[in-house]
Amino acid sequence: MLIKETDYGTPASVSKELVTLTIDGSEVTVPAGTSIMRAAMEAGTEIPKLCASDMLESFGSCRMCLVEIEGRNGTPASCTTPVSPGLVVKTQTQRVKDIRRGVMELYISDHPLDCLTCAANGDCELQDMAGAVGLRDVRYGYDGANHVFDTQANLPNTNFLSKDTSNPYFTYDPSKCIVCNRCVRACEEVQGTFALTITGRGFDSRVSAGMSESFLASECVSCGACVQACPTATLSENSLIETGQPEHSKVTTCAYCGVGCAFKAEMRGEEVVRMVPYKDGKANRGHSCVKGRFAYGYATHKERILKPMVRESINDPWRETTWDEAIGRVASEFKRIQNQYGKGSVGGITSSRCTNEDVFLVQKLIRQGFGVNNVDTCARVCHSPTGYGLKTTFGESAGTQDFDSVEHSDVILVIGANPTDGHPVFGSRMKKRLRQGARLIVVDPRRIDLVKSPHVSADYHLALKPGTNVAIMTSMAHVILSEGLENTDFIKSRCDVAAFEEWRAFVMRDRNSPEAMEAYTGVPADEVRAAARLFATGGNGAIYYGLGVTEHSQGSTTVMALANLAMATGNIGRPGVGVNPLRGQNNVQGSCDMGSFPHELPGYRHISDVATRTLFEADWNCTLNPEPGLRIPNMLDAAVEGSFRALYIQGEDILQSDPDTHHVASGLAAMECVVIQDLFLNETANYAHVFLPGSTFLEKDGTFTNAERRIQPVRKVMSPINGYGDWEITQLIAREVGLDWNYQTPIEIMDEIARLTPTFTGVTYDKLERLGSIQWPCNEEHPEGFPVMHVENFTRGLGLFMMTDYIPTDERTGPRFPLILTTGRILSQYNVGAQTRRTDNVVWHEEDRLEIHPHDAEQRGVNDGDWVTVRSRSGETALRALLTDRVAPGVVYTTFHHPMTQANVVTTDHSDWATNCPEYKVTAVQVSPSNGPTDYQEEYSDFAEKSRRIVAVDAAE
């Protein structure tokens, strides 16, 4: 069955006041401000419409939705006419019938009649409306002016525009356009990019991307909102054009970023026809970005590995084999290595891209099966400071709000995050609020898009020097306290007052004033003062932050500084405020919740806690090791030093994603058994001995937890072409090492999670089915979840102010390395790019480039597009330069989506003091002109190619 959300025609009204009217003889009660169209739909009557959709503000251009109202003249449009008390509305009268039919006739007279061969056949609102108004014939021929035929009377038809197929994922066929303006409004209102306009007037009006450019050449970011909004086939997904209309669909969750957009996977059999954002998805409200909507082709990419493989040494080619042999090898090697080198010589890494259920099993296998706590997750390298910082100050390792909260914010502080690229759908929702008038403070070394984009501009952009977040946040607090702008009531009633007093004395020191800190941050003191005043006095203040906060040597300290700022201004515990991490990967929150850290059992309980351990020991029938295990960087250190020898990596590519590549490589090379479970032969697999082909999110059931703590279902829509879901593979290993695991479905795994984790007690698949999603904590106190945290009390009781002393990183610039390199990501690519590089998204980002300020470039004789080497204390790599003043002089910037770039050869092993989260965001470098890739890059790509050789299974074996 195909899931179809109801389209009410116009957005819901938020008014509390109720209005009663009569529609077609029945009384209807709706909130004031509701349109007549919506009121009718809520009562079950669908008024014909073409230009209206409840994703968009009403427009009133098509004249299909006319109604008659007793005592009023004419035939008002029901989409633009609000209800008022006592109205008596008739939706179907001879008069409106005639008008609608006449309008329809005009539309159809300038529309091709090729319905049978049209991609939208069966899903076209124009078709539906022709049916709804009883259109039976069209009196006008096609001989007159039209947009349908390329020639007319044997002459070229100047009104005809040919198809635009420049975008790899959708086609624009202007001959089918009815100029309803829905696409233009979707691009403005939903996406906020303003790439589309209607050019011309009347008969000449046409939809146009940019300044009459192709879609690809325009500002379009390929989010697909316009395609979804289009009532006709004018804008259609290419996959739909190629495959035909879907016949059933399932709601599932995007596997790319931490926004966690809900999608309908629209299917024909086991083939995905298209992914359509689900309107009832509470994270995305019917919107998506180019990755989730379009970039799923990697699931069937020819390079995907479908058979298990083994090899004796990393210099051998891979040999395809059976699951039995591969699983047997993992079990026997791990046992051998533990016997030979000690229990603690093995460990595992869980994936933030896998489901909660997948992750839970990996950490269980390591703890229960191997008796160690050497389990970590790639969240280590991105958001571990969030857990530490928020747990310390608030008592819970998670963001405080839901995404809807931003609709109530008055001042938004964005620090170290680039929402329009990294978290695009949330970025769109934030921009919508900014267009409504919320104020914006951006703290970032680089001029990110939010600072200046159509109809949005930041009130303050504090372009600080990389590595000085703590300095700037503490000095903002200094301004607030010294000018008496703090929220004393909140502090007194909600926070630990003694800690506050100590913090106040610390913050008030002269050295924490913006004037004193200017020397470090490079930001003029009066700008910091003005921004601090705005944040403290501008109404609901919300803080959003990303990896630009966490990936520093003082990442945890910055998170605590943000928490201090929110508490001092009373911006906690209601919609519109809060401290909100924007998580990188789709299930970073979930993988942390599921006990992926070596010192914690699921639910963030320390491994030394006897009561918690006893609970798990009873359930798992084993004895748990009470000592914290190794974190990823420690595992690599221990490998080099000799005490760590085997690693099971679920869906991560640490060689490419972790800093100081040479160090990671030597750690991996020192191990005797590296097991990779992934979709592709990733870079880390170059050092692996066993490869277990993993499954995609389309091929298994489970749940992801997004950045708002929202647990959402992932639903299997096709059989795993590799044979097993990821949880099943882990179970195979567990059984092989002698554990008595018998999970038939992920439902049983979730039941176990709920049984053992206080914040998940009330979570079941049935409830997820019923509610769609659940924000944890979900337990007796909050049976349906909890959108905004710390409402009456902090989880820890009283909020704890922490002194946040600014300590400059050890990574300093100097004569040899005068520039600071900082790293980030772009919209169309995801993380190390393993998936997105295997889709058409490459048209937007063929290579990683080094952004450098023209001034720095000129000093070095570097022109735009030149090859340059970037050298740090750790290593050097080469890539091409991009001259831009988005970065300040002294700062260079790159992404790390392509393996050839080897950006992490350059990054160092400095890390956050509390969590060892690597300091990706600050590396002192020198940049100089070069002729092309470095020797290392060339050697590496040879090596990578060699280690990807595969020998097929011999049928006789």
Binding site: G342, G344, N373, Q554, E627, A638, W913, A914
Partner: protein
Amino acid sequence: MSMNKKLVDMINQIARNTAIQGDERAIAATADHVRKFWDPRMRAGLMAHLADGGAGLDDIARAASMKLAASNAPEVHNAD
């Protein structure tokens, strides 16, 4: 040796970031942090380095290491 140097750098960094709380609390916080987040072999490495004179340890880090050594020599059952 490099492993020890790394451990020394790590504990010194923790010590520097807790120093603002005053010596006594900083020492306790640093020791507690190491106890909570370091695998036994890392703590054992630190203890061995301390026994060797603890070259490179800052004051707070050294005091915290001594506190750890005194509280109970951490069992080394992970690396045996």
